[in-house]
């Protein structure tokens, strides 16, 4: 395999790895958060408004790490900044 193909393969593999590992952590975190929030609502149904609001905000903040990984993997696949340079070098 030549260098250009190698770089392409590595980019795609890294993109897959990024989103795979990057979604694992937030998934566990969100599961814990939701379970804890449900338990709290079951204990104190009167406070469910506040708990739900805080739950949504914290879910979004936890999820944002997964979103960062998603953005990075999308950049790796679709608009790889190294790709243009590699193609230019290969053409020379």
């Amino acid at each position: 395999m030549d260098n250009v193909g190698l770089i392409g393969a590595v980019s795609i593999l890294t993109a897959g790895l990024t989103i795979a590992i990057g979604s694992l952590g937030p998934a566990f975190g969100e599961a814990r958060t939701a379970a804890q929030a449900l338990a709290s609502i079951a204990q104190q149904p009167d406070e469910s408004n506040t708990i739900t609001r805080t739950l949504f905000v914290s879910l979004a903040m936890i999820e944002s790490t997964a979103i960062y990984c998603f953005v990075v993997s999308m950049i790796l696949i679709f608009t790889n900044p190294i790709w243009d340079r590699v193609l230019a070098m290969a053409a020379r």
Binding site: R53, V57, A60, E63, S64, I67, Y68, F70, V71, T79
Partner: protein, 238 residues
């Protein structure tokens, strides 16, 4: 694959380029301002307001309640900024179900601009509330050692705001495009419905986080000597 509406050039002159982000931002602005203007032309204090006035009243009182609960302060000062952020993001995310409309929040330039507004608004509200020195003192609050971390936190949370909104909206668009090529008709519709929900939640979260940041900058003073008076005040208002 087109990742942002920035790449769609709608009109082009010699030096000026009009891309889809700008055009659809103007569209959302026109929709918001036009609807609000038309409805408020016929405001009434009668027993039965028109249904459109009712809608606006529900929106405004809802936003005021949320701001009051999040910030523990009177919402009047924050409503214009926070409410505008929420309405703009929510409208552009919801309009994403309209065929041909590309949500301007799916472009990193729009979300970065919104996050920059928050970055500037936080010190402004803080300085108005506690003076320049008082606000600057919050940066060295626990000890002087925390100064670089406080500044870093300010920058990183701005980047996080921008990338979070951009990533969520952009992932919805790309998922729809991918699913249409794999399983047409059925699954994309479900994903669009989910996109409606996440779009509204993202708008809510952006506004709430902006409010939390502003409240953290303005409330530092209230926690000092007369903290009990402030707390009693806000609990009365609730």
């Amino acid at each position: 694959m087109r990742m942002t509406p920035d790449e769609f050039v709608i009109a082009e002159w010699d030096t000026v380029r009009l891309n889809a982000t700008v055009v659809y931002t103007w569209l959302v602005m026109a929709v918001l301002v036009g609807t609000a203007r038309i409805i408020t032309l016929r405001l009434t204090e009668a027993e039965k307001p028109s249904r459109w006035q009712n809608l606006l009243e529900v929106l405004v009182t809802g936003m005021r309640d949320q701001i009051r609960q999040v910030s523990q302060q009177e919402p009047g000062r924050y409503l214009p900024f926070i409410g505008t952020l929420f309405l703009f993001i929510a409208t552009s995310n919801v309009l994403a179900v309209v065929p041909g409309f590309m949500p301007p929040t799916g472009s990193i330039s729009t979300t970065a601009a919104l996050a920059l507004c928050v970055l500037i608004a936080v010190p402004l509200y803080g300085i108005v509330d506690q003076g320049v020195l008082g606000y600057l003192r919050t940066y060295v609050q626990p000890t002087f050692l925390m100064l670089p971390f406080n500044i870093l936190g300010e920058i990183s949370r701005t980047v996080a705001l921008a990338v979070r909104l951009y990533g969520n909206v952009m992932s919805g668009t790309i998922l729809a495009a991918l699913l249409i090529s794999i399983i047409p008709f059925f699954l994309p519709v479900l994903m669009q419905l989910l996109g409606l929900l996440t779009g509204l939640i993202q708008a809510y979260i952006f506004a709430v986080l902006a409010m939390v940041y502003i409240a953290a900058a303005t409330r530092a003073r209230a926690r000092e000597p007369d903290a009990t008076a402030g707390a009693a005040d806000s609990s009365v208002h609730q």
